[in-house]
Amino acid sequence: MTEIHTNDYRGTIHQRQKDLMLDWYHRLDQASDGGDPPTVSMMISGNCVELLEGFGASPIYPEVNALQLAIRHQSLEPILAAEDLGYAADNCAYVKADIGCMLKGITPTGERIPKPTLVLCNFVGCNTYVKWFEHVAELTGAPLYVLDVPFLRGEEPTEADVAYVVRQLKEVVQLLEKLTGRKFDCERFRQAVSCSSEVEQLWSEIKHFSQCTPSPFDAYFDAITLMGPLYVYRARQEGVEFFRAALEELKQKAIARTGIYDEERFRLVMEGPPPYPYFRTFRDMFAKWKACAVASTYSTVGGLWEFGFRHDPDRPFESIAMHMLAQNVTNRNYLQRYEQIRRYVEEWKADAIIIHFVKSCRLFSAGQGDMRDYFTKQLGIPTLYIESDLEDPRYFAEAQTKNRIDAFFESLEHAKSASRQGRECARTA
């Protein structure tokens, strides 16, 4: 095999990200001793972490715990434990990994995850998620609040949708006041929304760096590194400082035209979450072809900010409701996802689209066969469709996945070569 020289994104930010995430887990460990800080179990999709800041509370993200285990090749044991309990083989592997961890007392860092002050199911677009949080509440004995966020049916949510979500957010505030015995700090909440707005601006600018050729970072594999702080620290000053540093570091790379390979050969848009149990192996399959993701839908699960939306400290509740309703990829309708990907291809100058179908996630993956048809047949964009799972290592067939990826790039390489020769012929003529 050819040794590919990659300039992986391993700046100071990478270490800072690790430190921040470890600090977060450490805070959760401390909370296990007496409920300080208060903690709220929440979903990544359209998370309302700003609200928690009004109580000085920390989020617990079961999805982040699950993916941290998978990336460390430790997800199968809890998955099997959940299956022993009766969870079906095709159930969401995130759910099984999380439930299995609770059953076996496994945590990503070895430190404790506390019983949450509140289990807040803030995303109901996936019925499995609702059941997941019901089970978390049952297993931990913590109270459950299901925040009903309507799916986005048209281009924008209605005023009634926004008012409906705002009303529920205020109910959550009242509930947390009761559960924590703390008064909701409106000023701290407003500052948190302000921090989020600043982080979102910085994150959006970072994501636009990948419009450069070469892209200074991989907007799929490297973006995942930045997503942890985005969800945990977005509403805090640490988050602002982290993203300021990230912006500066990447700006320097963009100015110096330093890409992730010595030569950027292909630019991709990635759809779907990565196979975390084989994260490095999967990345290497693209690195071999010097293919760089310049945009990804997965990095917009927690929020879609590169097209202009920001939280608004002057309308904190309404802007949180807007974020939950309309500005995260999983609550948007399918045609909007098509449009998002089409814009990425056009504005980020991508050569092709990769769709990674997640076998245990109907929410993200249903309809991706039609999506492939739309992009290949109607828009003429080369699109590769591959299948495995984001958490369950048993679904990843390395040889078959590699074969598809290699064949796809062989055909792209041929098309590029033919187009180059065509241009040369035209010049000669």
């Binding site: 047949k377 080369p382 299948e387 290699d406 064949a407 062989e410 390489e413």
Partner: protein, 279 residues
């Protein structure tokens, strides 16, 4: 004369094709076929050696070797690798130049490939991790019926009332067949049903592409006359089936190897592969 070899190491069988280009045209000079078995590297070496012997050409006279198939990275003596998807497209275009769609049915996978006017891959789809719709399904069905693999195709052609096989699962087909045997259905009607089930599965796979004529069938299952007819029935058109259909991946690999020898292949990736794999 430039001499090159393509070696296709499949899940069931390994194929090698030795090709020569004397400046007047490209010819297939010899072929070899061996069971892959557990030792992939040995199978590839054995196919290569046998192919050279069959052509009466010493291995050292072979200018370039391209490996393909799932075992391509285990070919220790090869110069470069290409996926079998590119190789089947290229081979089919060489032997049947009007080819625009390839249906490749092998031992453990099946694929449909859209082919461009110069034999390049435009798009492709494959079965997933499951072996439904592959040669393995037919082999299992034959085993349950107690019939050899070579007999099932001709037998299926004699079906007058092919049964409906509800599953294309390689495991569950056994219970379907046993249930029809218990009902006293004729062996030819059961095998006719088995072939039609696979053909329909393949059609639904191929429909994810735009099926353009002319269609060429490749892979080991192309030797099964019953499967060819079943596919022609569901597709509503004739298929090209070359006598070298089984060797198509190796033929394509041999053509890429000859191109490399002639330095006509300009891909930088190709150069990189080649330089990294040369012994």
């Amino acid at each position: 004369m430039r001499i090159a070899v393509g070696v296709d190491v499949g899940s069931t069988q390994s194929k090698a094709v030795l090709m020569g280009d004397d400046g007047q045209g490209i010819k297939i000079l010899s072929r070899a076929l061996v069971d892959t078995g557990a030792n992939v590297t040995r199978a590839a070496q054995s196919a290569f050696d046998q192919c050279c012997r069959n052509a009466g050409i010493p291995p050292q006279d072979v200018g370039f070797i391209v490996g393909t198939g799932y075992g391509r990275y285990k070919i220790t003596f090869g110069n470069a690798q290409m996926t079998e998807i590119s190789c089947h497209a290229r081979g089919a275009h060489f032997l049947c130049p009007g080819t625009r769609t390839v249906i490749d049915m092998g031992g453990q996978d099946s694929k449909a490939i859209s082919v461009g006017p110069s034999g390049e891959v435009l798009d492709f789809v494959m079965n997933d991790k499951c072996a439904a719709g592959t040669g393995r399904f037919l082999a299992n069905a034959a085993e349950v019926m107690g019939i050899s693999l070579d007999e099932i195709g001709p037998l299926s052609l004699r079906a007058s009332h092919p049964v409906k096989i509800a599953t294309v699962c390689t495991v569950f087909v056994e219970s379907d067949i046993l249930s029809y045997l218990a009902q006293g259905k004729r062996a030819e009607d059961i095998m006719g049903g088995v072939h039609l089930a696979i053909a329909k599965r393949t059609l639904s796979l191929a429909r994810r592409l735009t099926i353009e004529p002319e269609i060429t069938m490749t892979g080991g299952v192309a030797r099964n006359t019953g499967m060819v007819q079943a596919l022609e029935t569901v597709l509503g058109q004739k298929l090209h089936v070359s006598p070298d259909a089984h060797f198509m991946g190796a033929v394509g690999a041999g053509l890429f190897a000859l191109e490399k020898l002639g330095e006509s292949f300009e891909s930088s990736v190709w150069r990189e592969h080649a330089s990294s794999c040369r012994n």
